[in-house]
Symmetry: C5
Subunit: 367 residues, 5 copies
């Protein structure tokens, strides 16, 4: 999974979030090997885990080069590739695993829409792993491609780091269920970790949105709208990964390839989970809209209260100012001016007038 | 069903309402037994009702422990479990009822999406019981899982208290229909009680919304919007339980498992009822939106009326103040000041001007 | 159909319009006979029309009691029941017509969702008859349940009065088509009258909405918004009856029960009609929304015009007042005050200033 | 097609546009012959065109009366009826063409929803011809019913005038494709002319909407909103005719009746065209909404600019007026008043204050 | 593809963007050859590329005239026509390629809805090539029609210039995949270039929209709304080309014509790509709406802040002006005026009052 330092290197900040740039690299023929993503030119690294109920072997990280070769065995193997940008490495892997050129193009184009495809003798998944960058408060995504043929499962990631450590731990335990099951169970485990990953991202967003709730009832300020819109965009972004993934799982369940046929309960459960996530994201979208309405309503009310108060306040002074103005005129004969208690009467009139207006406005609940 | 005191203990207040937290408990392998919910560590309690047309036996509450065992009989049994958070108890139940590990995971994860699944030799339902907390004016939900195998139906609840007392009463009456029917009728009775539960929750919400109606026409204040938004959120929350439950019932009816085949009219009726509830919730959502529009329109009109009145009021004083100001100037020769009835004429002009403006503004309906 | 006096008796005013109350009567087992509606405890009344092409007999109103019994004949019978609230009467009818307990429950619950169900040997419809209460300007609804078995059609209404008089008139005419047709034609006639009933209700609403149109262009006031929202709610209420009825007709046409198989053209026409009604209601909903926008736009423009005018008016007086204020200062030496035509010049300046401002504001179209 | 003078006679102005009135004519039995529309009591007129590749005969207009009769021939005939309001004439036509009573009812009810129905031995279409009344800027619609049996096609129109002159011209040309084709081609020609009619109406609306675009960018005034809403309503009205017509064509293509089986490419093309029209109407609806937003945004900005300017203008005068007021007080000892250049200093202070405020407000971009 | 100079000639500016005008050319019979588009009367030009794995021949541009004829060969041919407005040229091509008259009509009507049709012995596509005119900031579209029969693929374009140069380059390379594949691969290559064309257009729009994002956070002005609305319209326009194209591809994949049966993976990939584009356009539409909301919210807040500040500012001067007015009155006996430090006290009162008000308003956060 992308960590913060890597992201800075990749210059994610300046890259359009919702669509991978490739203006300069419009491919000349379909299936051509062109990396589309954040221009990282690292060679690919590879590691491999092989297991039977009895034993489990892990070959550690090495660069992909001409010597990369794994003898085929009856055991279940999980080969993990990190880095899909280096054309040379990818060509070696293409030949090693005998990959269709369209598949390799989908792997190298990190903006591929999540999908599932069953080919002649293998299964292909293109999915997204997500990561919430606390600092920048945005969701980052890394493409995960999965290919299954016979007893071998290969995962392709963009950069090191993933969400599969629980699986690795289980694989190391001798009595774990995964060691005694077929490759379908490994497929399920990987997809299940991904969905758990979506759930944990959604929970982070959910907390942010529900914190906002309290803020809204308490003392909302101008920054709230910005945060609400940013949450909405994150939800839109989440949907962009989850909806096609859900479609892909649906298609997988309908096709029931032999690899997964003994694990249909697991995959149905998976589909139910991703549906739940998808529906909850949609619900949060509606909630965010409601929050925006609340905020707008609150801000309007607040402004209206202020403006109404101020206007009422102004209005009280207008008649008083007029009265003062009248007695400031220079007419030769203004009888009130010469009354003995004229100035006193003036003040009484002024205060009465003010009091009356305040009384009326208070009664009308305008103040 | 959750009662108020329990809720406080559970700390529901600080928990995200729309999604169960489980950041720390991302499960390591699918089907692992991890309780996801409000951290209650009580052991599970169990009770059992067995009946034939002739007799009915009820075994009272006891803790689930190693000795928990029920001989299988030809009679119909309804076993009810309260508490799904204690791993040890759940492991005993899992073995006793020979449950699939995915099923037990769904039972223990109280945030499972409502669903129906038919397994090799049993039926599984995950649904929600709802409860309206009058005090806090919010809907609370408790997960209800149902498993049916042969003549046994098992219900799993989170905490004591449920909506099934009418069924228990019927079971105690010797001549009741339920005593003479097969297990399909018991399944229907339980689902029917749940739907009645949704209807009664909806009625509470409906009354609150329709009370709002009168308030809106009468003397709405700032708190109305808050109440409207809170109603809308409750409706969204209701939909979250009802829509997938409706889908589950649809699937049940399409699959027609043998247990229910003789009771299709009952299940069709049930489906029609939950559809009605679902449509009515959607209708109330639309109504609430209309109410929000009404409220906004009312508040705008009210503010506009006030502001217009105040502005017109101000405008009337401006020319008068000017006139007073003019006769307050110190020009050496201002003929009007020295007229015999100058001050009188001044007042006549002032009042005429004021009267004229009031007349015009009244005629234009600005006042 | 409900007439106004009855409604008052029923206390419709205090009853939630969109959902029938039944908090206190959550039924204890499905199919229990509990009346849900406006608490009218009248015994049911019954009448019966029997006809062949040659003759037609009508048995007049009588109370439903133990003696209620009709010999089955080869002739077509239409039995009409008025009042479904009295449990004793309904029990008699249930036995007489051998009704399923779920059906009788649906008949007595006057909040049943419109539906069609084909049972072993009969057809069941639950529908709504509507009535527009001119005085209170709201739509009232009465539930109509229809059961067909062999040559007998039974209708259940809540209170006396319905929309079927044209059918009764046709039945009395010896040469009318209905007398020479089978029961399918009678079913069609009744459903057709109901759809005509929806059309006439929609026409009343349509006229109200289109009258509003003219009002909107002419001299809208504050009451318009209220009326618009009330129309919208009536349309929502209409949809609630029409949409499920349309679904029911669709299902009837797809199932093609033997009773109607010779009249498919009639039922297709019926479906086309109710679809037209449904689409027109949806269209009017959109129109009402447009009207709300028009109204808001109009009110805003009107207020804006007033406020702009008033503000411009104020602004004209401000510089004049300042000038007057300046010449009201008591500086020892203000040369202008001692000019021969000082006061005249002062007026010339004042009027020029005012004229200039009015000219500019008029040119800018601010006045 | 309706021409303007006729419309005035029909009193279209006072008739609800979206729903035909028939309060007084609720039909007593389905299929009864009652004219529903604008009460025109003209007798129907009839004309007939018969053609083979070799020759073409046209019988001119005559009233429909007892003598109306056409011998059936092997040639293709197109019979056109103008006027569907006269019950007597329609009865004659009903008998002559042996029409189902439901069909004749649909023909006479000019508010029938567009539809396609295949009957025992004929095809029936109910569609709308549209006409844009330039003067009143609204769309008028006339119902067109089409019946096809064997080699005869009958069209029923409300009033004289239609969009089929191009077909008549083609029929008169000896070598035209239509003369050498079967009746399916004639059906297609008529439907194709109707869709072209929709396209030309849409183009008129489209131009009006796109003219509005320029107006919006240029100098929008209060009438724009009215025009926008009127366009939106016309689009809603258009959809009301086009959407069900599209459904009807879809159904025709799915049923593939023998008459059209050799012309499927033509009918598929027709369906593609009407789909395009439908989608374009929907697009224009969205565009109109955007235009409304633009207009509202523009008007708001304009008003805001004015109000802000005026407020800033007022604010500048307030401190100046206060200063003048202060030196207008009558305190015994105000040293400034007796300074040698007191009045000059006063003016310097006033102008500095004004200049400063203008500078600040300009810098803040408030002016 | 249209270049800028051509567009000016075509007078694109005055043509409705969303619908091609054809008021004057309502076709007289379906399939008549009438050019509908921007009235360009150039003769059509033609060129042809023929290839086998071994050799590749390109015949250069020539006018379409009577001598236009290509012997049929076993090799794969790609014939490209530029210009579809000249009836004479099109008639020659119609005869040469034996085209259905409906197809030729669709080719010449440049407003045809994107579609796929399989005819007796050929495949037909009508699609759009897009081009973003940087200067006018709008999307321009050119119609591309494709016909495939046996080993020949014919493309029809409106004007010279297209997006297929990468294909031409590949065709010239001896070892390229395309040279060794069948015609299905050529079809795919052309459609793939079109989808890449959509992607690059979308990227331009995406960048414009995301640039707007920064502008919105920074210093939005009145032009932003205009730009947002213009982006929204471009997105609507894009959807108009992409959605039906996606439907066409779906239909192609479902029909699986023999020409493409060996390349299903390629066409599935193509469909996945266009689906991604379509979903991303929809996402950007939602984003643009969010941006509009942000902008409106920002502008409102900004105006509100200004107005509130100004109002508060005014309110501070009102009491001060009143006080000054009071001491400007001419009452005979006003004791304050004759106090020794009266004028000083006056200033103290004024400043205290002002300070107090500022303090209060600051504390209330109104300033
Ligand atoms: Mg792809
Ligand atoms: Mg996508
Ligand atoms: Mg990605
Ligand atoms: Mg997407
Ligand atoms: Mg998506
Ligand atoms: Mg859910
Ligand atoms: Mg809204
Ligand atoms: Mg689950
Ligand atoms: Mg829940
Ligand atoms: Mg849900
Ligand atoms: Mg939901
Ligand atoms: Mg609805
Ligand atoms: Mg019911
Ligand atoms: Mg309903
Ligand atoms: Mg009802
Ligand atoms: Mg409904
Ligand atoms: Mg409803
Ligand atoms: Mg619509
Ligand atoms: Mg709105
Ligand atoms: Mg009809
Ligand atoms: Mg319609
Ligand atoms: Mg019409
Ligand atoms: Mg319609
Ligand atoms: Mg409609
Ligand atoms: Mg076309
Ligand atoms: Mg289109
Ligand atoms: Mg084009
Ligand atoms: Mg489209
Ligand atoms: Mg479109
Ligand atoms: Mg979406
Ligand atoms: Mg909007």
């Amino acid at each position: 999974m992308l960590d913060s330092s890597v992201i800075t290197k990749l210059g994610v900040k300046t890259v359009a979030r919702f669509y991978k740039k490739r203006t300069e690299t419009l491919r000349k023929h379909p299936g051509e090997m062109v990396y589309i993503g954040n221009n990282l030119k690292n060679e690919s690294k590879i590691d491999k885990i092989t297991y039977t109920p009895e034993k489990m072997t892990g070959r550690i990280h090495s660069l992909v080069d001409e010597t990369t070769n794994f003898p085929e065995t009856e055991e279940i193997s999980w080969i993990n590739i990190e880095g899909v940008s280096d054309v040379k490495s990818m060509k070696i892997l293409k030949n090693r695993f005998n990959l269709n050129s369209l598949i390799i193009a989908d792997i190298m184009n990190t903006g591929t829409r999540p999908k599932y495809q069953s080919l002649e003798n293998n299964l292909f998944f293109s999915l997204k792993m997500l990561r919430y960058d606390q600092e920048k408060e945005r969701i980052l995504s890394e493409q995960l491609s999965i290919i299954v043929f016979k007893n071998t499962l290969v995962t392709f990631q963009e950069v090191p780091g993933d969400v599969f450590d629980p699986i690795r731990e289980n694989l190391m335990m001798k009595d774990s269920k995964i060691r005694s099951e077929k490759i379908g169970y490994l497929i399920h485990s990987i997809l299940d970790c991904l969905v758990d990953n979506y759930i944990s991202i959604l929970q982070l967003l959910a907390e942010r949105i529900e914190d906002m709730e309290e803020l809204l009832l308490d003392h909302p300020d101008e920054t709230v709208m910005e945060k609400l819109i940013s949450s909405k965009k994150d939800l839109l972004y989440l949907v962009k990964s989850i909806r096609p993934a859900r479609e892909a799982f649906k298609q997988l369940i309908n096709e029931k390839p032999t690899e997964i046929r003994n694990y249909m309960h697991y995959f149905n459960d998976l589909f139910s989970n991703i549906t739940h996530v998808y529906e909850t994201v949609e619900l949060y979208k509606e909630l965010t809209t409601e929050q925006m309405n609340t905020y707008n309503s609150y801000m309007n009310n607040r402004l209206n209260d202020i403006m109404r108060f101020l206007t009422v306040f102004s209005v009280i002074f207008l008649p008083l100012t007029l009265v003062a103005g009248i007695y400031g005129t220079n007419f030769e004969f203004i009888p009130e001016l010469h009354l003995r208690f004229g100035y006193l009467y003036f003040w009484i009139i002024m205060l009465t007038l003010a009091g009356l207006m305040i009384y009326i406005f208070k009664k009308k609940k305008w103040m």
